[in-house]
Subunit: 502 residues, 2 copies
């Protein structure tokens, strides 16, 4: 009897986040739901990540309503979301009550599986969310962000997995957001976790396709005992996205593994999104091939284009190679954080500063916070000299406590601020929307009644697209926390912006 | 000690044949040769397939001169070509003397490795060429075309491998031109051949990337003992092309296997062709994703678009699904040939005829020849009723002999015809060019002095490309044997063209 390998379908969340800047309108997903619901997936990732932000920022769509609609249209499916631990779906740490409330409300509106991660792999930043998921009786999936450094070891990942199991997680996800997970480490990590935590502990593997090797990594993870892997239907796959669902099914034929996916449903889903995809031409990633240089630089493609545009603004585009060479130094000084939003932007921008103005002459506020522990703990020690500089510049001390421990109860204040906004409906859901996006929510509340905007365009009516510009802003989530700095140094003003890439 | 896995680089032949219709000019390959020569490849595929045809048909370039140039620019490398057995690089069977002469001349001009195949896997069609390669002291690589049918078994492939070894082949290539080779059969076939023929028999594996699973198949083939795999540098890879060379290198990290490729050279080669690629925008394949439906239809993507345009010409585009369903029937009736040029065109066009005019009401001349054995033997028995129809229509008997046995000595006649042409330089090379392309060679000889034409265009000067039309003529070799039929049936004229897809 072959072992059944389960599959999480990413088309409704990470696939369009990675390939079309999270712009897909709910309207364009609805017609595929019946086939998705009946295709035999273990779960359907459909919420969280950047979708919440994109809904209110670009699509005038209520993300909570989106969730309820998925619940109705996918009655047989486990709905799955990506949750940034103590950051929820926003970009700062929230006080525990807000975290609890968010998880409660997401569960109440239909969410089943909460994939919870922290960009620094600081387990203290996911603990509260995981507890809340357990309390709601839902599936808590603890997540390990995969990265490569001299300090990251199989043993270290196993220890993190054990801690997540101790927190009560029903499954462990190995999340490889930058397509760095090669076949042999995929095998080694999955096997070691199974051996340490027990064969019955479910392991899910999430990889991107950018480097071209990760379908092989999924094969090896499966051979090592992985229970579920993430893929996206082929018509919205590859490049900075994910491996194609259909390829996974075919890959396993004749092996001791099988999926329970219905190929005729997959064809329908594929054909459907093949028609939808060209409607979002202007948002589509230009990257369709593979990028293996990421293995050396560790900088995801989207981040490189960000740094290029930062450099261009300063007339220093030619210095990109110096910046790329500086990134690993800055990452080392910061204690080897995984490079994922927001750490990738923080490290990348500091590398730009270092090249343009001299090493650590000026620190961004975010980099100072990272060095001082305000994002949490990193695996490696942070460079002491740079920590001193950060403390001096930011005029605050470094911390070793969990960042959210510094926060005071904030729900009531958030609630009264939200309720004072025109168009706020007074629900806890609206308060949470405001809490996560205080700059965007007011406008969204006031225009919500106008109904969703679909940014897709009939490709026949659209003008032919210009050839792809190299380094274009592609494969990204909505750019949400763009901060511009005017930095004066020796009488010269430098304009630098920091913007998330994914 | 990890085992070294050798690599054949396809960029100079199959990569641009599969992705840019074989249009790359020699001029655009020259600057990359030094890096290619020093990157550590086992061989560099750079000649044969459709490149010869494309040189004289589109590029006004002498293919023999191209070979001599490669010999000069790649002094450390084994040069490799793809040879269609008794068809050489043309589209009919040649008498043995012509085959001998071609191999001699190719060896003399610098070719080292002759990968020799027959579309039907009829070993009689490769025997003469393999003997000639051995006589010239060069590397004879016997090739198995991989396909899937109820009759194709691991045992059958092993038997073919044994026969190729008996012919004196120094290596065996498993050639998967349609990306049908899944990981488990890749493992099983390689292992079984090694066990039957000896572990010292070199096995090379050639796969395309179309279905998205074949990098995994290469991994499994390597685990089973494969010695060398084919890849293409990443900037001209994937889609109907091949797996990226760099991804192969990275995939093996930490495994018991290693390549001896120089990553810094690979980056240079990649960057170089990334600049060249946009110059051929108008020829580039539209297919960048994966196509897994090929596993069911067995029809390569290029063939589907051919059939679509055949149907459109008859105002019957809506009948494509019937035609796709008919292809497996026709293939079965023809004894399950692998679908590769020319069998894919022959079977596909007959399927169109069957749907439009009724099953086997009209046979194409080529299909009749296939049914009567004039292309060689197929693995399965051919349907007797259809064979009778073919004999009646073609007014000739079926044969069981090797097709080339019917041919009379033809060198002298070819030679005198060639020498009578304006611009023919009297060399055996020119006679061979004429022998293979009697319709195209005369014009080429007469314009050869004008020098090569580079069809690449500065993308900045070119107009933005229109969005890709579905089913466009992509990923193909030069369309070389297009034959138009006017078929009258019940007083109605049907116009049907047959054209090779690869």
């Amino acid at each position: 009897m072959p072992k059944t390998i389960e599959v999480t379908e990413l088309i409704l969340r990470d696939a369009h986040q990675s390939l079309m800047a999270t712009r897909m309108a709910m309207e364009d997903m609805v017609p595929a739901c019946e086939d998705i619901d009946n295709a035999g997936y273990w779960s359907v990732e459909c919420w969280g990540g950047a979708t919440f932000d994109s809904c209110i920022r670009f699509l005038n769509e209520d993300p909570w309503e989106r969730l309820r609609t998925f619940r109705k249209l996918l009655p047989k499916s486990r709905l799955q979301m990506l949750l940034r631990g103590q950051n929820l779906l926003g970009y700062r740490h929230y006080e525990d009550t807000v975290v609890d409330r968010f998880v409660e409300k997401a569960a109440e509106n239909g969410m089943d599986v909460f994939r919870t991660f922290d960009a620094l792999n600081d387990i203290r930043n996911v603990r509260q969310a995981i507890k809340a998921v357990k309390r709601a009786g839902k599936h808590a999936q603890g997540t390990i962000c995969y990265t490569v450094s001299p300090l990251h070891t199989v043993t270290g990942y196993v220890e993190m997995a054990e801690q997540l199991v101790d927190l009560g997680c029903q499954s462990i996800c190995i999340k490889d957001m930058a397509a760095l997970l090669k076949p042999q480490p995929a095998y080694d990590i999955v096997r070691a976790i199974k051996e340490a935590c027990g064969e019955e502990i479910r392991i899910h593997v999430h990889v991107h396709a950018t480097t071209g090797v990760t379908l092989v990594s999924l094969m090896k993870a499966i051979e090592a005992g992985a229970d579920c892997v993430d893929t996206a239907i082929s018509s919205l796959s590859l490049g900075p996205g994910h491996n194609p669902t259909e390829s996974l099914v075919e890959m396993l034929e004749g092996t001791p593994y099988i999926t329970r996916l219905d190929k005729s449903r997959l064809v329908k889903i594929k054909d459907y999104f093949a028609k939808i995809r060209p409607r979002y031409q202007e948002f589509l990633s230009n990257i369709t091939g593979v990028e293996t240089e990421i293995f050396d630089s560790q900088i995801p493609g989207g981040m490189i284009s960000n740094m290029e545009s930062q450099l261009k603004q300063q007339g220093a585009a030619h210095r990109i190679k110096e910046v790329l060479a500086e990134v690993p130094n800055v990452r080392k000084d910061a204690g080897y954080p995984p490079l994922v939003t927001p750490s990738s932007q923080i490290v990348g921008t500091q590398a730009v500063f270092n090249v343009m103005m001299g090493r650590y002459k000026v620190l961004t506020g975010e980099f100072a916070d990272l060095m001082l522990g305000y994002y949490g703990a990193t695996l490696g020690p942070r460079d002491n000299e740079v920590v001193q500089l950060a403390a001096k510049q930011a005029k605050k001390d470094s911390i070793t406590r969990r960042p959210a421990d510094l926060l005071k109860p904030e729900w009531e204040e958030l609630r009264s601020s939200a309720l004072s906004l025109k168009g706020c409906n007074g629900s806890d859901e609206d308060v949470l929307t405001y809490a996560m996006f205080p700059q965007v929510a007011p406008k969204f509340f006031s225009t919500r009644d106008e109904g969703p905007k679909n940014l897709g365009k009939d490709p026949a009516a659209a003008k032919p697209a210009a050839p792809a510009a190299p380094g274009a802003d592609a494969g990204k989530g909505p750019v949400t926390t763009t901060i511009s700095y005017d930095v004066k140094l020796n009488g010269k003003t430098h304009k630098v912006t920091v913007a998330p890439s994914a």
